[in-house]
Amino acid sequence: MGDLIYRENQFIYTEQGKERPLLDCGDYLSNKSRISMHCLEDQDIYTLPDLLTDIRKQGPCRGNDAFAAALIDVLLAARLIRTSQPVRILEYGCLGGKFSYYLASIAGAFCEASSLVCACDRMDMEWMEQVADVKKLPRVSFLAGDYGDLPLQKGYFDIILINGTVDFVDPCKVVSDALRLASDDGILLCYTDASPLLEGVFKLFFEKDKREDYEISAFARLMCAKAEDQSWTPWEEKQGFEKNAEKHLRQAQDLLMGDTKDGRELAGMLNILKQDAKTAAATGRVGLKLRLQEQKEKLMDCERRKRP
């Protein structure tokens, strides 16, 4: 099990005797810049050392969510500290807002113009309470949507946390969707808590040398990777569903136009179109679904006519 220690002005992650420095605060502790950096009119003076000290105080308690949150804070601080730009953060699956609180706190502390979108398939009152407790809020939005198909702009987010305390039905779709939403130089954090399929899927997307793993407890893990390091594309995407469906539509058309219509061939094509229509329906491709339906009807008519 891992541990997060603060030693000689450094946040260090340790696991099985091996140390990994995450953030060297040396220079920053003497930097009395006020943050939030873009809100100079703010009368409260909150400096970089204040922020780092707060993170240090807050954790970590080993093996629990607070440990994970402290780790996320350090990893985000290491990135945010180098930029003066507002960042766009997405929490993929926010439930009761435990992580939303930490994400909002750190994003707001650095730059109140940063934005945090917390997405969930349902609204939880606890989430509002958690977010209301944040002292310096960035721009926070809540989005209710279907996991795997969040209605957000492609490539918009700099940082995405996939919150694996949510029991995602299809983690593969979730990681794919997160990758769609991440900017080219965006980073993905994946927190898994007794969610082994999400963990397995994330590892498929990002091979060992392309990601950083942090062990929170026997069942929980935090993984971090750059979106650009994606090394795997799911089968459905790779097969190019739409391209294949178009091909099937053309094949069906050829079959209908041709002279010899073998019954088995018709039945086979009918089943392929049926599957395609289901996939199109499930993935919201309405136009394609209607075309597949239409062609399916024609094939069925043709099949019926062939029967004695």
Partner: protein, 572 residues
Amino acid sequence: MEQKDFCDYLSSYETMSYMAKTYGYEEILAQAATLMQADPADLEYYPVMESAAEKLRGVYQYALKDFQKHILHYDRLYGRLEGSASRIIFANLIGYRIVPVSSFLEQAYHISLENDFPAKGFFEEVASFERNKDWIEDGTSRILLDVGKDISDLWVKPALLDKICPGYGLFLRYESFGEGCRTVIYATPPKKTLDRIYEQLLQPKKPERIVALAPYERGWNNAELVKDCGVIPYLLHKKYGCDVSMVGAPGTDYTNLSYIPGVKLEFLTDGTVKAKTEYIEKEAKNIDCLVLRGAYPDYIPVVDTYKRYNPMGKVFLPLDANSLYMDRIQWTDPDFKRFMGQCDVISTSGPVMQKHLNEKWPWVIEHIPNGFYRFSDEEWNPVFEKKENIILTAGRLGSEQKATHVLLEAFAEASGQLPGWELHLAGHVEASFGEYLDMFWEKYPGLKERVRFLGHITDRKTLYEEYLKSKVFALTSTWEGGTPNVVAEALYAGNVIAITKIDEYEEATDGGRCGMAAEIGDVAGFRNILVTLCKEQDLEAMSRHAYAYARKHYDMERAVEKLYSLIFGEEA
């Protein structure tokens, strides 16, 4: 939960899955501890997986929690396993995780020895999906998955395999290995899609059992037996030998049952959801297809139960849809989404509603027309010359839906321009309509000879004769669930259609080629179309077109062929 119930739940995977979804961790733990005569606190740390990489992860509490938390994935895997042996082994391994007594493992071991899976030869073990995903993706290798190293391996590894390359055949075994035993999945490469379909098509099949469940808290009524509700099951029996039952609350006077021989009526104690779910719970495994009628909330727990006990069973949902009702449905409601997601074939009877819903909803909506079936092998060919100057309507006369008053008023206004024409109304008259009728006769006493109420005609032959005698069929409904059955019957008899603009009016009139439509509730508009149609020079041609159109589009046997193929056509 009683101890006896707990023991019953252990009898099959389906019931264990149900228990895991229904009862909490503590309750199952307590029951298991009682059965094993152990202290629950000790049982929680009992090792159920000696080979787990970390001993702590292999103890009882994590196994049970994993099962409960990821039950949908376990269910999915159960549905994916090939062959009955794999499923029995799976059930025993899960049983062991709930009550860790060796008899479960012994049974799993002995069934594994039967080893009935078809693939012999070398299987390559996959130690890491991360490293081996490229050759797995190729889909040509035989793969061995050791699914006993970690509690979640049993479902995670096959799920990952499916993500990398879907379609592998999965055979679960619990077999001897070294000095102990191990749980493995032998995965055989996915067959080429068409080969697989052909293979399945060539396999002999036993007759499918189909159950049509009545909606709301009622049973089927006599009239429904000869409408699509009864005719579809009947034709599935007649054409494909399916074993069909219509199930609902008790009813009487099923005189129409003689029209649908072979269809069984089964009665529940009453029509409550409880009675329905209990019936389904008992019968689910033997039902190949559950036929519902309308997307009513009462059906949600029924379908949940059906799919719980028979995940591979099919559900056919004819929507009985009209835009008024469909647009009121909150389709994003999680319960509704789950319900619709569990239905294998969803249909409307009209193409307009089909298109509307296909654009609106994320499910595939099929078109199964409300066709016509004659219940007789006699030659049927409407002859226009034999027809009389009759406008016919049929249905529940005087009901709010049928708006019979619109038809009566329209005919009364048109009667002066239509000498020699009569209006015939077939069907039961609602009691509440009496008052209106008294007023109508008072206002139009001269129409008593020209407006005839034929009463409820139970004999199909007599009813068809009325259709054959008429030239025009009128329907003034305010709304309809799809295309009404009477329209198909009328078209088949060569009746030209006068109809209000319900959702499917264009389909009913073939876009004006065999009828006309007026606005809903518009007496003057309906009068005009009655006059226009009755005086139409080409009424005979329109009548012929009506019949030809009905044969092409409203043939119930064709509709059932399509339905059968949609329900039982093998998946690609």
